[in-house]
Every structure is written in C-alpha cells, then in structure tokens.
C-alpha cells in the first residue's frame, strides 16, 4: 500500500498494521527532515505532490517489490505540505519471513519512490531564497518565482 499524507505520519499505527504471525522480520525506513543539505542550514521544507500520478506510481513500485522479493506486507507513506526539522517525510515498512527479503524490498522501495514518484521538495534557508531541489538550471540553484 502506498499513500500520501497531508498530516503527520504515525509509524506506530502503520507498524501495527503490518503485524502478522508468519512474519519474522520487519525493516522500516524513516526519512526525516534534516537540519542541513549540501552544507546549507535548512529551516523548513515543503513537499508538493501530483496526487493522482503519485499514488499510481507508488502502487506500481509496491507491486514491483512484491514481485521481486519474498515479502509479506508493504506499507509506504509520503508526506505533503510544510514540514519542520525532525518531521517524518517518508516511511516505508516491510515484513517478511526472513530478513533478506525485508531488507532488499525496503531498499528497493525507497530508492524507486525517491526516483520516480512525482513529489517535489522546496527547501527554505535562513537569509536566502528557497530552492526547488533538483530543479536548478545552468549550474545555478533554481529560484522560486518572485511573488506576484
């Protein structure tokens, strides 16, 4: 299951939903908002998603992980909206009978989610223009448009 969340992610509840008697291993990945990126102090982040396609692509990635690895349960959730330092941006939980499958699927999921799901991140800094990550052109940081 992949979904977007406009409000804080509750890992304990998600973890609970993954519990089952056949599972021997559970690997979780949490992506937290760091207080820095590429050496710049970060104050806040905005995540924006293209919801219809983000959910389709996220579900496709979950289905791929199920096909590739011996897993039992998969839950992946990505936040949208404004996040502060330490907030949970993305959470992926995988259960399996054995840890090999759980680790491999977990890593596949977060790598593919980050690379393919249409979600964008805008970083806010102290005393500098916010930047849309990965959207710089001609060697410069991409600047947000001035307010209209």
């Amino acid at each position: 299951m992949f979904r977007l969340a406009e409000t804080p992610i509750d890992p304990a509840a998600l973890l609970h939903s993954l519990g089952e008697a056949r599972a021997g291993a559970c690997v979780t990945f949490a992506g937290w908002v760091r207080n820095h990126n590429d050496g710049r102090p970060v104050e806040q982040l905005d995540y924006e998603a293209y919801p219809a396609l983000a959910v389709k692509e996220g579900e496709r990635i979950v289905a791929e992980a199920r096909a590739k690895f011996p897993v039992l349960g998969i839950v992946a959730v990505h936040r949208t909206g404004s996040l502060a330092i330490g907030d949970l941006a993305v959470w992926v939980g995988v259960t399996a009978e054995h840890r090999d499958g759980a680790y491999a699927a977990s890593r596949y999921l977060i790598d593919e989610l980050k690379a393919r799901v249409p979600i964008w991140k805008k970083e806010h800094y102290a005393g500098a223009q916010p930047v849309w990550i990965n959207c710089a052109t001609r060697g410069e940081h991409a600047q947000a448009a001035p307010p209209r």
């Binding site: 293209y50 980050k114 690379a115 393919r116 799901v117």
Partner: protein, 81 residues
C-alpha cells in the same frame, strides 16, 4: 487543428506560471510542442529534456499526439524522500 487542453502545474512550474491549472487552446500536435510554446510564453526555466510529461494521469512519451480535451502535466525532476 486547434485543441482544447487542460494543463495542471506543480512545484517550480506552478510558481513560474503563477497558477495551478488553466485550460488553453493550442495548435501544438504533441506535448513537447505544447511545452515549447508555453516555455516561450511564460519563461519556464527548465528545458523539456529535464522534464517528463503525463497525459490523463499517466506518464506518456513527449512525442505522443495530443488529443482534444487531454489533461497534461509537465513533471519537473522529482525529489521525494
């Protein structure tokens, strides 16, 4: 031929366009032609080769023909996680 196209903007494109969605008339035959037209008009900073495109909420080839009434989204480089 003139088509009616629904465009939705996200992230840096939304900010550079100054709005989230618009419906427009175009003679562009493909998504890449439409982006080229809109980039010239609105000064989008990202070249088409840094973007992907979705039509009717599915990733689509840039040179696929546009159909009347299509919902088009240009997708800047993603940065989830």
């Amino acid at each position: 031929m003139t088509l009616t196209i629904h465009v939705q903007y996200f992230a840096i494109l939304r900010e550079q366009r100054g709005l989230s969605r618009e419906t427009l008339s175009t003679t562009a035959a493909t998504a890449v032609e439409l982006y080229t037209e809109l980039q010239a008009k609105h000064g989008f900073s990202l070249p088409a080769d840094r973007l992907r495109v979705a039509i009717n909420d599915e990733f689509t080839a840039w040179n696929a023909p546009l159909r009347d009434g299509a919902a088009v989204v240009f997708i800047p480089p993603v940065a989830g996680g």
